[in-house]
Subunit: 218 residues, 2 copies
Amino acid sequence: MEKMSGNNIPEKTIERLSEYRRTLLNLHKQGITHIFSHVLAGMHGITAVQVRRDLMLIGFSSDTKKGYDVEELIDFINRILDSSEPMNIAVIGMGHLGQAITRYFNNKGLNLKIVAAFDVDPAKVGTTIEDIPCYSMDDFETDVASLGIDIAVLSCPSRVAAELVVPIVNAGIKGVLNFTSKPLNFPLGIVVENYDITTLLEKVAYFVKENNEDNNEL
Amino acid sequence: MEKMSGNNIPEKTIERLSEYRRTLLNLHKQGITHIFSHVLAGMHGITAVQVRRDLMLIGFSSDTKKGYDVEELIDFINRILDSSEPMNIAVIGMGHLGQAITRYFNNKGLNLKIVAAFDVDPAKVGTTIEDIPCYSMDDFETDVASLGIDIAVLSCPSRVAAELVVPIVNAGIKGVLNFTSKPLNFPLGIVVENYDITTLLEKVAYFVKENNEDNNEL
């Protein structure tokens, strides 16, 4: 998926801005006020040139003799990435993955807020999991509308993923993060990120194999 | 992270090959013998040109009047992505995410095999979780060596991630898939993929915001 935003910021830069911000928030918590581009770069395993290019793209240029002002840069990235109102998120499928995601995001102080979980398991519906109320899939469309949900995270079994496309469209959801192994297509205007973790693992395995073969050739 | 393999196949192509293969295996299971590039493309939300370019890069060219031979293409991708021996994987941290990953990969018939889990929780050590034996972190380096583990998946709490770098290097692990929110650097020769799911969610949220703003301008 190759996306470009209205601001002409490439997708990969958006990813890195999210990563920089997480690092900067950590540094800020530790009382660090300034950071050089090469230090920030090193913490992410990339070059200083890449960091500077990304920050130039978003128009951040206040590099001082002590490096970037951490707080100022966080504020700047916030203005790029965050919408003015927090976005509401629903997690569909509260198995291990859904619970891991929910636990992970809760209380992270993000501009993204998991407000609901959905499951078909009667043992889960009506309870709260990680403090998030779990709703039945039966009333999905009306519940999503009344809760004002913007984004759905799919952590349900892959075999049911395709059945969710129409309810998601009908419910007015604007973004989908799909962790199932079934890639999904949505109509224009709905953002979808298909991310099967198998792909990540197969990619790591491929590059390990390539490294091994390079070493055998020496 | 921008990687190129010895075969000069870009990282993004490797990702898509993994995705194509998963789709092709599904089609094969359903008895489908041939597929056109535009159909395969449509199933992944990309263009037929992209599919053809990827397959050209790996030297696959046997396009017939009925499209690609599904079985032949699977075999071809297998030869690119897979090593001759299955790779052994250890999952470090058997909380919800670790369990989700383990359940997910078990019995998938992949060339990747989760053979061990590691945790610090005495209640988990010595048991099996999803049929995978759970070992203590105390003997991590010797256990990894004796089990012949190639790849580590990190699903432990982010605050302990940095402490794992030295043991992972010492144990001779060749690839790391890091799901914690702490990006890790490893010496040359060890492949690392840092994938914090926060990044994915923040990216989807950003493009939803951009879409909303575009609509408001109309």
